[in-house]
Amino acid sequence: MKHIWLVSGITIKEGIRNRVLLGVLFFALVMCAVNVVVTGSFTRDLGKVAVDVGLSTVSISGLAIIFFLGMPLLAKDLDKLTVYLVLSRPIARRDYILGKFIGLNTLVFVSVLILSVITAISVKLIMGLSPAYIPPLFSWTVFAMAVFFSFLSLVVMTSLSILYTCLSSSTYMAFIFTIGTYLIGQNIELVRTLLKQANPEGSLTLSLLSAASWIFPNLSAFDRKTSAAYGLDFHWSTFGITTAYAVSYTLLVLFITVLVFNRRELT
């Protein structure tokens, strides 16, 4: 366990040194200002627009950290063989992967936390300026839950990005696989629903999609921006089962990643 914390600590330090994190924070501040301007273009449900812009910023920034900070950090270790500096010490490959995972997710968590606080401030500001045009059911609890789910989605994506980086020989391919998985994960449920409506008796495509839904993550389950925007009902059972799904999927991906990394020839 000590080794995992050591690797994660190094990853966090590397991440903080990297300018991408600063760029993300700058982007967040810009989006906060943009939020006030964009919201001013509307006359109804202003709180909803503010939440849309704010939580979308959280998601985009989290993804930017995974794609432009996390994946290059890991790929650099593998390509330039700096991973030997770590693995030549008594640190197991498993500990290296888990350390990287925890380190990257700590960076994502800090970023999500900062962005969420900034978003909450801008939403509060907009609500204060136009209290009459706020969705009547809006709730900060639902908002917090949506942020948590956004983080869970990013955790799942982090685990997959590490898997793809370990699986493929080039960063470019790993990048393409991760983007592809993100696009599929966001839409697989919607496309399945649409196909079911079109062919209630089933089809080969639908069967293939059903099979694929066991492999690709259902990322749309973590998208609760609409619930946060209007304060729509958020059952604790849904909260529990979605969290369990994210944890189990991430554990499975990490397990496969460790297996792949243990067999990978680092030459």
Partner: protein, 273 residues
């Protein structure tokens, strides 16, 4: 010196070429924009837009509403094709985020007044109504469109009565819905509905308003029964309502709680209050 002059001339020519091509491109883009009327994204089927929007459906809906608003505000008089584009973009906005109030407000405030496709507007409003369970306004707009544009009082009354059941809806929706129902021969429905509303309502002022309207509908029910008996006996409608009393069908005429005489059309047998 000669080389410098050639360089300057070549630079000048390239600059002129660039200026013309830039202005040409601007013109072409402007024509294309006027021709398309909306982003190509909103020319796609709604399902495709939902897929492309990924986890940013709310944000995309905001953009669609802004785009529809910009088309409406572009010039004083829009063409039919432009109104169709507004309707299509707002349809996408509702498909992406059916909860957004700005979408149905913009839709109702513009499209039905400039197009004849009222069923489409009502379809979109119904999506908003079905999602915004706390909001009586989409249901009211549906009732209004049926009443004002489509002259379908039965559907208008159904929509208004449904909208009046939403929390904080003004009681006038219930009374107006009931009146329309009565006018299309559904007085029993109006009475049952008003009784249900009366049971639920706690506010005394609103209760009084509903009770007054219920009394009017009950009075009409008595008169309608009298007319049915008279018609069965004499094979025609009486010329005036007081004939129901003089002919012995009714012991006396019920009072209109609004203090005016009932309006009666003996050709159709319709009674209004």
């Amino acid at each position: 010196m000669k080389n410098l002059a050639v360089t300057f001339a070549a630079g000048f020519l390239v600059l002129v070429f660039y200026t013309f091509s830039y202005l040409g491109l601007q013109g072409a883009r402007h024509e294309m924009k006027a021709d398309i009327q909306a982003s190509p994204l909103f020319n796609l089927p709604e399902h495709v837009t939902r897929v492309l929007a990924l986890e940013f459906k709310g944000l995309m809906a905001d953009y669609a509403v802004m785009e529809a608003g910009s088309i409406v505000g572009k010039k004083e008089k829009l063409t039919d094709a432009e109104w169709k584009a507004v309707e299509r973009v707002l349809g996408h906005a509702i498909s992406l985020d059916p909860y957004f109030q700005q979408t149905y407000m913009l839709l109702q405030g513009t499209v039905p007044w400039h197009t004849d496709d009222h069923e489409m507007t009502i379809d979109l409003l119904e999506k908003s109504r079905d999602h915004r369970f706390w909001d009586w306004i989409p249901g009211f707009f549906i009732g209004f469109d049926y009443f004002y544009f489509l002259k379908d009082n039965l559907k208008a009354s159904e929509a208004l009565m449904a909208a009046s059941s939403v929390k904080d809806a003004p009681p006038a929706l219930a009374t107006f819905g009931a009146r329309l129902a009565q006018e299309v021969g559904k007085n029993d429905t109006a009475i049952a509905f008003l009784r249900m509303m009366l049971e639920k309502e706690k506010d005394q002022e609103k209760r009084d308003m509903l009770q007054e309207r219920l009394d009017a509908h009950l009075a009409v029910a008595v008169l309608e029964n009298g007319l049915a008996v008279f018609h069965a006996k004499y094979g025609k409608n009486p010329e005036r309502l007081d004939i129901l009393v003089s002919s012995g069908v009714l012991p006396r005429l019920p009072e209109n709680p609004y203090g005016k005489p009932f309006i009666y059309d003996n050709a159709t047998g319709v009674i209004k209050f």
